[in-house]
Amino acid sequence: MGNIQVTPLTRDAIPRAGNCDPSPERVTEAVRHAAGLLVDQAPLETFVAQNTLQVLEGIPFHDAVRTAHELHGADGYLSEAEFQELFRSGEVTAADLHEARCRLAWPENPETVLPGITVQNLENALLFRQEPRIAPASRAWWLRHQHPAGAKAVDLWNEVIRLPWETGGSTVTMPVNTPGDLARHLAGFTLITSTRSLLVGYCSRYLDRGMAGHHEPETGRFWPYFLGHVAQAGIVAPFGPALRADALRRLEGRQSPIDAVVELLGLSDNQPTDLDEMLRAVVLRHPGWAGMFHRLERNPEERPRADTPVSLIDFIAAQLLIEFHLARDIALQLQIISRKDVTPAALVKALLEKVKLPEASPALRRDPWNLCLALLKLDVRTGELSSLPKAQRKTLVEVATNFGMWRRLALWLEALEANLRNQILKALAENPPVAATPGRPVLDVMTCLDDREESFRRALEHLDTRIRTWGAPGFYQLPVAYRDLSSPYPRILCPLGVSPAYTVREKPASERKAATLQRTASFSRVAQKAELSLRSKWMGALVGTLTAVAAFPLMVLGLFFPRWREVFQRVTHSGHDSAGLDLPESVDGAGVLAFPLQEQVNRVGGLLRTIGLTGQFAPLVVVLGHGSRTANNPHKSAYDCGACRGHEGHNNARLFATLANRPEVRKALTEQGIRIPEDTWFIGGRHDTCAGTVELLDLELVPPSQRDNLAQAQSTLKAASQKDAVERCRRFCSAPKKPDGRSAFRHVRERSVDPAQPRPELGHMTNAMAIVGRRSRTRGLFLDRRAFLVSYDPTLDNDGTVLANILRAITPIVVGINLQYYFSRVDPLRYGSGSKLPHNPVGLVGVMEGSCGDLRTGLPRQMVELHTPVRLLYVVEAPIDRVRAALASNPDLSRKLANQWCSMAVIDPSSTREWLIEPDLSATGVDLTGKPGTPRNSDSESWFRGRSGNLPLAWIDPSLDTRGAPAR
């Protein structure tokens, strides 16, 4: 899969007004403009997190969020009430707000606006006003009955409405002039649902990647496919013969979709219409499905069949056809038109004559209401406003308008981020209290840079100071297509934007093993076939219903005791990847690329140098890939390794270990200066981030001399898993309240097999920063699972290429994850995919709500509800010049930084000097004097025990006693 070229939109690029030229070329262009606004998300089967507003990355974050609000109506920040809650809980302080004001260049204004009240007072009152969520029409009632001031509050409200508010900017907008929009406006109900109930069945079957019992043999375009089906539908056609005849006519006339769109929009020459806005509205009515058509149009390799010519315009034509028929029926019933055979243009004309717009009133707008609440908070008396001179009344309005919602929200977000940034920069400017024991370590553990590994790594290091941990992107720089024994199709295991360089095939280690695997695989296949056929197949309906009563007790018990399922699964699990496989350096055969030795050496050596593991190897180096196995979860790939394109990452880990164990590779590495001792063994493994288990793989290949080390490592890893589980449990409502390692571990394992659990794990929730640097700088720091940790040794990278490579490799992953979580959290309904409870998997392309809803993009609410949405902060340990050079060679990251989609701080490797990269990419020194020092605690558990929210960063220093004082 190639790189996706996204042309960034600027605000000016979104046309505001235009003339109506109903030529096919102009309409095509308008469709292209409109399609640029669709969320660009891959089919869920290969889902990888990426910025929801990627198309707007070309403009500054705060502007983009506002633009997106105008387009989608979506929120771009947490609500003010939620920010105020964060203020109360101490995650934002007054000092942070002040700092944010300075950064945003909105200084406090001491000018007096009302007697005894300065602009600053008023702004603070606006910032901290409390209001329940309440419908605009209920405001007067609410003030009278619920506000302590009662009738006086209503009087004040009436005075506020009479202030000189600017007219315009009403909450009511003119409907766009497609037949569907106009009819909707007249009928008073949305046509979206009716349209979908017809359209979605055809879309899902056309785009199906393998869920329907049999695939459609058609591979043609969608428009004729749709017309053909509608024309054949017989008298069932929900609009009766009219739609059917229309479809037949278009089919026989071989109407092209673009001609259909031009016709169905109902455009005529003398009618003023903004064509771009019109198509934007059309496309955004079913953003999920339209987005999927658009995505597949540009990415043929993601299509169900590569030769299916998927195209957005076909979808739009079908949508408009249905909307036209719905609108015509409504117009007939409303007696707006009298004949059935009306053209779209005539229909639009007739409808336009009837449309009336409701009036806008300042009482329905936000700013007056907010001002009123703020004035009430400041105890402004009734009558004070009307006696003000005209200029001051105008100032009041200006303050309320200028310090409006968008500015307040931006301020809150910057303050929240400032708080966290100060914490981490303060901590990193201090010396870690505990360092790794010098000398040869007992165990090296390499994990993915994933934020979920942070607590696991901290737990490991806490157990033994002779353990070192390393973080790297979880595909371990092995961009491969991987084919395991059970699968005839390769999976691509590398990040988006990287093409797989090699194909690797799994091979059984021995004949006996092969036979066993063959048996389990065929058993698994039979079991799967049986289970699937129970759903829809003829025999299944018969046999299943006959036998289900007998199995019923097991089903009920399984719900009450989910862990029984684990036992059952262990019996039936096919065990493909559990043991004894060899990964050859290359395999021949059709289309399989060889993996030459030199490449193997380069890949292994490159990674080791990148993370800084070039000497003092422990006897055992554990390389962990991660995945998340859950019982009832369509969004599994969003929990798996983002660096492996939403697949589990353990196969890359195994491959890396296999390569690093090869004598030829080691020999070549020695020549490059990386000497891996004879008695060092690399072993791959899988870290299940949901069940918390660590499973080491290919154990048969471990030399006998390593058996003791292996046993030791396994018990250490298990102990760390348990500690990690205890930490994770603090976020779970149903977890034991005071868990010990065993009960916590049992709980998280139960979550992973419980089909009733919509939150098997919390994913990347609370991710906030990416720290690129030596682990020794952060070792022992309680980062609360909020940081992506990338190992990078600045002392081994004199020319800066390694840093540039790292930043290039991780940016799409970490910024993508961060922003997807951000937007899914701030507006779960529009940017996220809503609650996952009504989700219905469809066609392996995604989930929809109910059986004919829109395709949902983004993350479900259950995944992100505990997330604290902040933009990612990079913390890079490197000389400032090297960072500048890396940024100069990385336009993508530079653009993101310049437009503030993420931010970056830099720490000098040899001192405690710190810089912030400003939006203009200059660096300013950070001054943290006066900021409180980082708290210290004896261990993580006593720091988080009993607290479920976000915690301040803290140094974990085992030499302290539990009260935080030095032990005697």
Binding site: R133, L334, K636, P841, G850
Partner: protein
């Protein structure tokens, strides 16, 4: 005043058997408790929901109470099963409540009786276990979901009703439970208030359900007219022809409820609620109610005839087309829904063939299987990904494809299914038509003049005591309608509602003072009343604003009262006793809402229910009272059906059942469209403030009054 026995003067049947043996009283006690337990939990949760804001901390309590209640039910049913086995598995008829049964049989209503036999024993135990499992599932699955308590309340109400239906001993008693099952199903399809999709789906489901309900209500009336009882076993001795008609009516009921051809289109649309509700209703239980009814009433239709053939054909066609549709669906829940339809078709086919024990076994098996598959539907995504990885893709032969395509054509070419989807669109259309033509509504409102005048002349003839006062009183409704017509938008909705209630009450009261009206005037009153009811129902359907719907509904019920009064004057009293307090409750509710949001924003209330549970509860209760869902309305409806059936024949009975169906559909439309769904007016930023305790208690008190007043007369006698 003596109330004639159910609609057939001179009926000889008086008293059904009273509780006799120990076995019967034990069974009665156990089953009362088993069915009552979830209902009690539902009531508790309902009060809780209306009284307090839902809070996360209460989740465990709510889920705990539900599981406790259902656990108790399961235990009781196991106990009953063992007692029953020990007693040698007799077929037990146990009256619901001894006293009630006595009163019931005295006034001629069918008595409420439990029937415990192998079928109901197995089905009720399975159902209670399934419900228990679902509650366990939901307690984790719905964690932090807005509407957590609401789900458990509706779920418990449904479970109790489902058990009631399974254990019910006669058709009229079944109809009670049947209605509540339908009502709760619709509530859970529309579980997500803030999105328009679920609301549209809920309306679709409700439309289909009303067709099924019409079949059942007519069946009850038909059975009571011909057998003078509604008990299943008494029906077996009816003449062949009567039983065939009954069988066909039951077929309509079962086909609609169990999503059989040709009414199978609604089931995939119903998958809008959270997964556990889809599992409980459309995987496990609700959808099986129709097939269960067919098995339950096998004595009626099993003799060879059109009914049995129709059942066999419907089952066979559903089996074939359902599987074909299931194969062609690309979404997990849609495919499952069609498989469920298909398996139920198999069950009905087997029953029609005569293999009823096997059909019963498969019914239970299908319920268990689909329930579990539906719970795990989201997991299908990963399972199919894995399948795609590990199994070769299926390539059905061209012949198979052709077969599938033809079967799908068959499924979709069903005349009725096409008709029904158009029926629903016709309803939407009528709504718009009425909205556009307000004058027609007003004009139709003048129609009371016709029958009332007819009746006046007639009453003058027979009684010779027509005073000017009586004329003035009887003409009161016309004043109101005149005001309504002339005043239009100018007069307040409260005034309109008040006038409507007042004048309708007076008209009904006057009519009920005179005995049954015979001859031509009786016919005129009957048809005039039907006409008024029809226009009222269509008006309720078309009412774009809540007050309009309310007025139109009152008009419809007045028409019902006038029509029924031709033969049964008492119905006038009973309707007044129900309608007055219910209308007062509705007016109060509208008044409180209007005080909060001002005029003309009814459509802007969308989503208000989420943060205003009392408002929502009041809304639903008032709506239910009007829509004819509660049992006392079913009494009226079935009484009325019996009347019409007795005096005017089958066709007219069908027409009046359709009127009732349309009336309720209209109300659901207004109810769901106004309170839930996407706002069509200015977009709201927040919900409306909830009712305060005083307002809530007053509304509740009026509703309770409306529910109990009609019974007061019966309890006296």
């Amino acid at each position: 005043m003596d109330r004639p026995l159910i609609g057939y003067p001179g009926s000889t049947r008086t008293v059904t058997q009273l509780p006799g043996s120990d076995m019967e009283s034990t069974t009665r006690l156990i089953l009362d408790l088993a069915v009552g337990s979830p209902l009690l939990v539902a009531a508790t949760l309902g009060f809780y929901l209306a009284g307090f804001k839902s809070s996360e901390r209460r989740e465990r309590l709510v889920a705990g109470i539900s599981q406790l209640g259902l656990g108790f039910t399961c235990l009781l049913l196991v106990l009953q099963l063992s007692v029953w086995f020990a007693a040698g598995r007799p077929v037990i008829h146990a009256p619901l409540l001894a006293e009630a049964v006595r009163a019931d049989s005295e006034r001629g209503h069918p008595s409420a009786v439990w029937l415990y036999d192998p079928l109901s024993a197995a089905a009720s135990l399975l159902a209670s276990l399934m419900a228990l499992g679902t509650m366990r599932f939901a307690s984790t699955y719905l964690h932090r979901e807005p509407g957590f308590t609401r789900f458990f309340m509706v779920g418990n109400l449904f479970t109790g009703s489902m058990l009631g239906l399974m254990l019910s001993g006669n058709l009229a008693f079944s109809a009670w439970w049947w209605e509540i099952i339908g009502f709760t199903s619709v509530l859970l399809v529309g579980f997500y208030h803030a999105r328009p999709g679920p609301q549209a789906a809920a309306r679709t489901v409700f439309c289909y359900y009303r067709v099924a309900d019409s079949g059942l209500l007519l069946a009850v009336a038909w059975l009571m007219v011909h057998a003078e009882t509604a008990a299943f076993e008494d029906a077996a001795s009816l003449p062949w022809m009567t039983r065939q008609v009954l069988g066909l009516l039951l077929l309509v009921a079962a086909v609609g409820k169990s999503a059989q051809w040709p009414l199978m289109g609604w089931l995939p649309r119903a998958m809008e609620g959270p997964t556990p509700s889809s599992a409980l209703f459309y995987g496990g239980m609700s959808v099986h109610a129709g097939a269960y009814l067919i098995l339950r009433t096998k004595d009626i239709w099993l003799e060879s005839g059109p009914a049995r053939w129709a059942l066999a054909i419907s089952g066979a066609v559903t089996l074939l087309t359902g599987l074909a549709r299931a194969r062609s669906r690309a979404d997990a829940k849609g495919a499952l829904a069609n498989s469920t339809s298909a398996s139920l078709g198999l069950v009905i086919l087997l029953a029609a063939v005569g293999l009823t024990p096997l059909a019963g076994w498969m019914l239970l098996g299908n319920a268990a299987l689909r329930w579990y598959q539906m719970l795990r539907a989201p997991a299908q995504f990963q399972e199919y990904v894995r399948r795609k990885r590990e199994l070769a893709p299926e390539n059905p032969s061209p012949a198979m494809r052709r077969l599938d395509r033809s079967l799908e054509q068959l499924a979709s070419a069903g005349i009725l299914s096409g008709f029904l989807s158009r029926f629903q669109r016709a309803i939407e259309g009528a709504a718009l038509w009425f909205a556009a033509g307000g004058k027609i509504l007003a004009l139709s409102s003048l129609m009371p003049l016709v029958p009332v005048s007819a009746w006046l002349c007639h009453a003058g003839d027979i009684q010779n005591n027509v005073t000017p006062l009586a004329v003035v009183l009887v003409l009161t409704p016309c004043w109101f309608y005149l005001v309504y017509w002339l005043g239009g938008e100018q007069i307040s909705s409260t005034l309109k509602t008040g006038l409507a209630t007042f004048s309708s009450a007076i008209a009904l009261a006057c009519v009920s003072q005179v005995g049954p009206v015979e001859g031509l005037p009786g016919q005129i009153l009957m048809f005039g009343g039907l006409g008024i009811a029809l226009f009222g129902a269509m008006g309720a359907l078309g009412g774009r604003k809540l007050p309009d719907s309310l007025v139109a509904t009152i008009q419809a019920w007045t028409g019902v009262g006038l029509a029924a009064a031709a033969h049964r004057p008492q119905i006038g009293w009973e309707l007044v006793a129900t309608m007055l307090p219910v209308t007062l409750a509705a007016t109060l509710l509208m008044g409180t809402i209007k005080a909060r949001v001002g005029k003309g924003v009814w459509q802007g209330l969308a989503g208000a229910g989420i943060e205003a549970p009392r408002l929502e509860a009041g809304w639903l209760l008032v709506g239910a009272a009007f829509t004819g869902v509660p049992p006392w309305i079913i009494f009226h409806a079935s009484d009325w059906s019996v009347e019409v059936l007795m005096h005017h024949g089958f066709l007219l009975a069908i027409i009046q059942t359709v009127i009732l169906a349309v009336l309720t559909i209209g109300w659901t439309r207004t109810l769901l469209g106004t309170l839930w769904g996407e706002p069509s007016g200015p977009v709201q930023e927040g919900p409306m403030p909830d009712l305060n305790l005083f307002e809530w208690v007053s509304i509740l008190a009026f509703l309770v009054l409306g529910a109990t007043l009609p019974f007061a007369r019966w309890w006296q006698s």
